[in-house]
């Protein structure tokens, strides 16, 4: 299938935008058609994505499915796209989760109900997200990156809960603030390269970039700030609890499952391969911030009274594990990071779906108002328990591998990095896993267990509905499949990650297996 090789990923990325256009041309009143269009286009994008994944050469390190066309000749910006083992899992994850979100919209659309606006924005968002994961040109990447902001801004600002105005503006401006530094970094890379280029792969090649150390650090700092805000890495995380809490369910799911990964992906795709030396200098700082994020996120979770806000804070901790894996600058750490991104996307996406559906039924997110959920809706409670136990990293489920291997790699980071710093980070991360278990089990005790309060006992509240199952079963299945068969992701990532590590100082420095 030749068209797949060249057009496959482009098709997967732009099908949703075509769908958005089709929806815009449909009268607002024809809600059924609008939903069907959204379903068909996201479904088609997912199918194309899966065809690409099927054709993907496992074990090959370099870029596949590349397409490189001149785009803006004046600044030498190209439409250059392609995927490798690092981007493939994220592309598939984005396509899958958006498709499931559309299914979920069949069950429930947030107030004020406007299928046309909501779904077209969702599809636009999908293009932005997946586009970010296939772009190999900095300008193209930036366009996709910024494209994500607008639909998400409206999702939160229009369909959010009480403090939506504040949360949406904060989300938008904070990310924009970061992207400004990121863009400055891109421009600096362009002007410092010889010949001037925005092409990521060219920029990675030796001799293309001619940077004094100080400037390299400055550029890395700019890129890192832009990415770190998106992740979000402590202490740049404060937009996240607000955005997550206020966003409509689908918005929260997409934020958690995909948007955050754009930040961590930026480190792996752009900042580290293009500026490996600067990355080595910054790695200990990132490692320390990650360790703080893990414990800090967990402690904040313990203090939450709002179920959704607690899940939001749990993301800070989980993304801390991902960043810790990245900071070790080892193949093990990078593999763990990508696995952790997907696992977090699947598990936390599921948790946000559940908190949304619980809110829909009880009209409250306050943990204290719930209780005895297992008596009222045993299936919903069972799924909440399952997702929570997956999130706290039970071996055999998806959440385990990313975290344990990230910690494992922190014990033995890249030889040029400080052992005491990373081993301390490992210990702190280990404490974080205990706290994580603590807040999840405590939440489950207060939400699921105990006795049902009088006010719910008489109300008729439905348990999990068929449409909800449709949207959730793939995620639930993935939690188990990835837990039992982690190779599904790591076989794809391993060779690309190993190639990435070979770009780091010390050449093909695979880690010595003796203790130092």
């Amino acid at each position: 299938m030749n068209w797949v090789d060249e057009w496959g990923i482009t098709l997967a990325v732009f099908l949703p935008v075509a769908g958005a256009l089709a929806i815009l041309l449909t009268p607002k009143a024809m809600e059924g058609v609008i939903k069907a269009l959204a379903l068909v286009f996201t479904g088609a994008a997912l199918v194309v994505g899966l065809i690409v994944a099927k054709a993907f050469q496992i074990g090959e390190a370099g870029m596949q499915f590349q397409m490189n066309r001149s785009w803006i000749p004046a600044i030498n910006a190209d439409y250059h796209v392609g995927i490798d083992g690092i981007s493939l899992p994220l592309v598939v994850l984005s396509l899958l989760v958006t498709f499931l979100c559309v299914i979920y919209c069949y069950w429930h659309l947030p107030e004020p109900v406007n299928a046309k606006a909501f779904l077209s924005l969702t599809l636009l968002l999908e293009t932005g997200m997946t586009g970010s994961f296939i772009a190999l040109d900095l300008v193209l990447f930036f366009v996709f990156w910024e494209l994500v902001l607008v639909p998400m801004y409206f999702m939160i600002g229009v369909w959010g809960t009480e403090r939506r105005q504040y949360a949406s503006i904060k989300f938008f401006l904070y990310t924009l603030f970061g992207s400004m530094f990121m863009l400055l970094g891109f421009l600096a890379l362009y002007f410092q390269s010889e010949p001037n280029t925005f092409d990521m792969l060219e920029l990675q090649q030796a001799g293309v970039l001619n940077l004094p150390v100080g400037l390299a650090h400055l550029i890395f700092g700019g890129l890192a700030l832009g990415f770190a805000i998106k992740v979000p890495l402590w202490p740049f995380h404060t937009w996240l609890p607000d955005a997550h809490t206020e966003a409509p369910t689908v918005g929260s799911v997409l934020l958690a499952a995909v948007l955050l990964k754009m930040g961590t992906y930026g480190f792996l795709r752009i900042a580290i391969p293009i500026l490996p030396d600067a990355a080595m200098t910054f790695a200990p700082v990132i490692g320390i911030l990650s360790a703080i994020a893990i414990v800090y996120g967990a402690l904040n979770c313990l203090a939450q009274t709002d179920l959704k806000r607690m899940i939001a804070f749990s993301s800070v901790g989980h993304m801390g594990f991902v960043m810790l894996g990245i900071a070790t600058m080892t193949p093990e750490g990078f593999n763990a990071a990508i696995f952790g991104m997907v696992a977090h996307g699947v598990i936390t996406g599921m948790l946000f779906f559940l908190s949304g559906s619980i809110k829909e039924r009880f009209h409250t997110r306050q943990i204290a108002d719930l209780g005895g959920l297992s008596l009222k809706m045993p299936r919903m409670a069972g799924l909440l328990a399952f997702a929570s136990i997956a999130s706290l990293g039970l071996p055999g489920l998806a959440g385990f591998w990313g975290e344990v291997i990230a910690l494992l790699s922190a014990y033995q980071p890249h030889p040029d990095l400080s052992l005491p710093i990373f081993r301390t980070a490992m210990v702190v991360g280990g404490i974080g896993t205990v706290l994580t278990a603590g807040y999840f089990l405590w939440m489950l005790q207060r939400v699921n267990l105990g006795t049902l309060s009088e006010k719910w006992r008489k109300k008729s509240l439905p348990d999990v509905q068929p449409l909800e199952y449709l949207a959730w079963v793939p995620l639930l299945a993935l939690v188990v499949v990835l837990g039992l068969y982690p190779r599904l992701i790591m076989d794809a990532t391993d060779s690309s990650v190993t190639a990435l590590v070979e770009m780091l100082p010390g050449g093909d420095a695979s880690i010595a297996t003796t203790d130092r």
């Binding site: 400004m180 600096a188 910690l407 603590g438 076989d491």
Partner: protein
């Protein structure tokens, strides 16, 4: 030559895995509500376990194990993880223990749990637990072992909290999970140390690397100490033993299976499995010996004063686990594993017997029992035999293993390890105390006058589904120890040994330990035979001792007030306060300042100066007004415009500097 059964040992955990899935998916529709599937699966596991066991012991003393594995995961160059199984004497013995006790508990539960509202889920969890435990036992590498290890932890959590309508039960479940998880972090770090030192998770390869001296002594010690943290948590050793007594909140068959015979010995099993690593580090061995000794003593004292029958057994379990751990600390490898074996039979028997009693009198408290011997003949007979086995009376099972451990400690001491004397003394004192609380427990429960409310409670013997497992386990509690009778014919020592075969035997010590058991039992019987539940010490000079025991050495208090609550309340709230009032305020302040600067620019510069100048030329330029709105417009284009403007500006500055 290895053939048939052993090569198929991997199927042993697969049976309960299948039954777990089947019960969860369709258990409620089955006539037996799912229990029959679990029983069938466990019967298959037991049959295959026995086949593996007999084949393994048939291989003779120089059988070093059979191992098969497939690649599970590659997560870096040279970083591989296998999925495999390893059968040797140690694993074979454990397989029999786990599958036999699990089968007995399954059968027993059909009676004990009859009518329970979550009957089917209960059996699904029993299957899940058994699968995880068997996986833990068979794993050929440490990370796979961890998978089983955490799996049994989560099943234990769910089963302790089975009756979660009561908050006390779910509290106990959380306490068990979190306390053991603290130890697990150490275990995980220990795995990391060994992985990076030996380049593998494979247990046999790690052991070989240690044997060949390829790993630095300091690293080995670090690994052993960290691994042992896992054992401290899981096997309820001081100071993390506090979760096990609370875990009695779960259904009694669960206490028998998970919190007596199998899961709690996982820590002992871990030390035994990784014994090469421990044996190489004097420091680690001493730590193991001391922790085990402290644990056996403090728990035995606590068992003396409990009113709750299950709590007596729980503290007794903690104490006996201390025996096993301390045994490993003094090189008594075979004796410790032998004690896992005998303890599994008599302690499972005691718990199931206790369940039968509780089933009959509807209370856990011995102060409301008494005189049950005539009402429940099978339960009381088997329970008394179990008690005598625990107390260390010959010829019952517990006597042989306990005696071997005491001899082991003595030999360790006389071979130049002073810590051996501490262990030896602790074991003797504990032997006395054990017999003492056993006598108390038997006297209060089965003898004397009935103290239950005879009008409402009519104790009767339990159904066959419950008494049959009691009888089976009773046979093993009597005869299970005969495979380890000291001397040349010591079979157990040929099945499970570390290094060369060893025949520790000492007639004086054996006689001494019998005398201690008799003395302890006599003292206990003399004090408690009239039905008093406690000795009134409160007014006396020993009152403080009683208060200390009553409050469990204040450890729960210290943990709750010193760690759990401060973290959950003060620290968590302070962190959140920091988040909202400091970190987030920086963000809000930046936004606020930007808006203010906008205002100032408009009101202070733009309007009076620039616009004023323009106005001076012509008022027409006032069109430029309304910029104030710029900052609050909510129009994305404007925000974007600001961004691009600033970027262009900064880029300009950059270019200006550069060229």
């Amino acid at each position: 030559m290895v053939s048939n059964a052993i090569a198929y040992a991997w199927l042993i955990p697969v049976f309960p895995l299948i039954s777990f899935g089947v019960i969860l998916a369709m258990g409620k529709k089955l006539p037996g509500k799912g229990a029959e599937v679990g029983i069938l699966a466990l019967a298959a596991s037991l049959a295959l376990s026995l086949a593996v066991f007999f084949q393994t012991i048939g291989q003779g003393g120089d059988f070093h194990g059979y191992e098969r594995a497939v690649s599970w995961l590659t997560f870096g160059p040279g970083s591989e993880l296998e999925l495999g199984f390893r059968v040797d004497g140690l694993a074979a013995v454990m397989l029999v223990i786990v599958s036999l006790v699990a089968l007995m508990v399954h059968i027993y539960s059909t009676g004990y749990m009859a009518g329970d509202r979550r009957y089917t889920f209960y059996f699904a969890m029993l299957s899940a637990f058994t699968f995880s435990m068997l996986n833990l036992v068979l794993a050929n590498n440490l990370l796979q072992m961890l998978v089983g290890w955490e799996g049994v932890g989560v099943c234990s959590y769910l089963l302790i909290g089975h009756w979660w309508e009561e908050k006390a039960n779910s509290n106990a479940a959380i306490k068990a999970f979190i306390t053991t998880r603290i130890g697990d972090v150490g275990f995980i770090f220990g795995i990391f140390v060994l992985f990076w030192a030996a380049g593998t998770f494979n247990i046999a390869e790690i052991s070989e690397a240690v044997d060949l001296g390829e790993i630095a002594p300091g690293v080995i010690t670090a690994a052993a100490v960290l691994l042992f943290l896992g054992a401290i948590g899981k096997s309820a050793q001081f100071p993390l033993h506090v979760w096990l007594p609370d875990a009695m909140a779960g259904p009694t068959p669960v206490s028998a299976l998970i919190h007596a015979a199998t899961m709690v010995v996982a820590g002992v099993y871990l030390v035994a499995r990784m014994y090469t690593v421990f044996f190489d580090s004097a420091l680690a061995l001493n730590e193991v010996a001391v922790i085990g000794s402290i644990t056996m003593l403090i728990a035995a004292f606590l068992a003396l004063i409990q009113d709750d029958l299950k709590k007596v057994l729980a503290y007794s379990t903690v104490s006996q686990l201390g025996y096993m751990i301390a045994g490993l600390g003094v090189g008594a490898y075979t004796a410790s594993v032998f004690h896992i074996w005998t303890h599994a039979w008599f302690k499972a028997l005691l718990f199931l017997g206790a369940g039968s009693v509780i089933h009959a009198v509807h209370t856990n408290n011995m102060s409301s029992m008494g005189g049950l011997r005539s009402k429940m003949p099978i339960t009381s007979a088997t329970f008394i035999i179990g008690g005598l086995a625990l107390a260390g009376f010959p010829p019952f099972a517990g006597f042989w293993s306990k005696d071997e451990l005491v001899v082991g400690a003595y030999e360790w001491a006389t071979h130049g390890h002073p810590v051996g004397w501490f262990v030896f003394a602790s074991m003797l004192i504990t032997a006395f105390l054990t017999a003492c609380y056993v006598a108390r427990m038997l006297a209060l429960t089965f003898f004397g006058k009935p103290k239950y409310d005879a009008e409402h409670v009519h104790p009767h013997e339990s159904p066959r589904s419950m008494t049959t497992p009691l009888l089976v386990l009773c046979v093993l509690a009597i005869a299970g120890g005969w495979v380890g009778i000291p001397g040349e014919a010591n079979l157990f020592g040929q099945w499970v040994h570390f290094g060369d075969l060893h025949h520790g035997f000492s007639v004086p010590i054996m006689l001494g330990s019998i005398a201690l058991a008799v003395a302890g039992f006599g003292v206990g019987w003399a004090i408690f035979r009239h039905g008093k539940t406690s000795v009134d010490l409160k007014g006396s000079a020993w009152g403080w001792v009683y208060r200390l025991l009553e409050n469990k050495y204040y450890l729960d208090e210290i943990y709750m007030r010193g760690i759990v609550r401060p973290i959950r309340e003060q620290v968590a709230r302070a962190t959140y306060w920091t988040n909202q009032r400091l970190i987030d305020q920086v963000v809000n302040l930046a936004a606020f300042v930007t808006v203010k600067v906008g205002f100032a620019t408009y009101h202070g510069i733009d309007q009076p100066l620039i616009d004023g100048a323009v106005n001076g030329v012509g008022r027409a330029a006032g069109v430029l007004g309304g910029k104030l709105k710029f900052w609050q417009s909510g129009y994305m284009q404007r925000y974007a415009a600001v961004l691009f403007l600033s970027v262009t500006l900064l880029a300009g500055v950059y270019l200006f500097i550069k060229f």
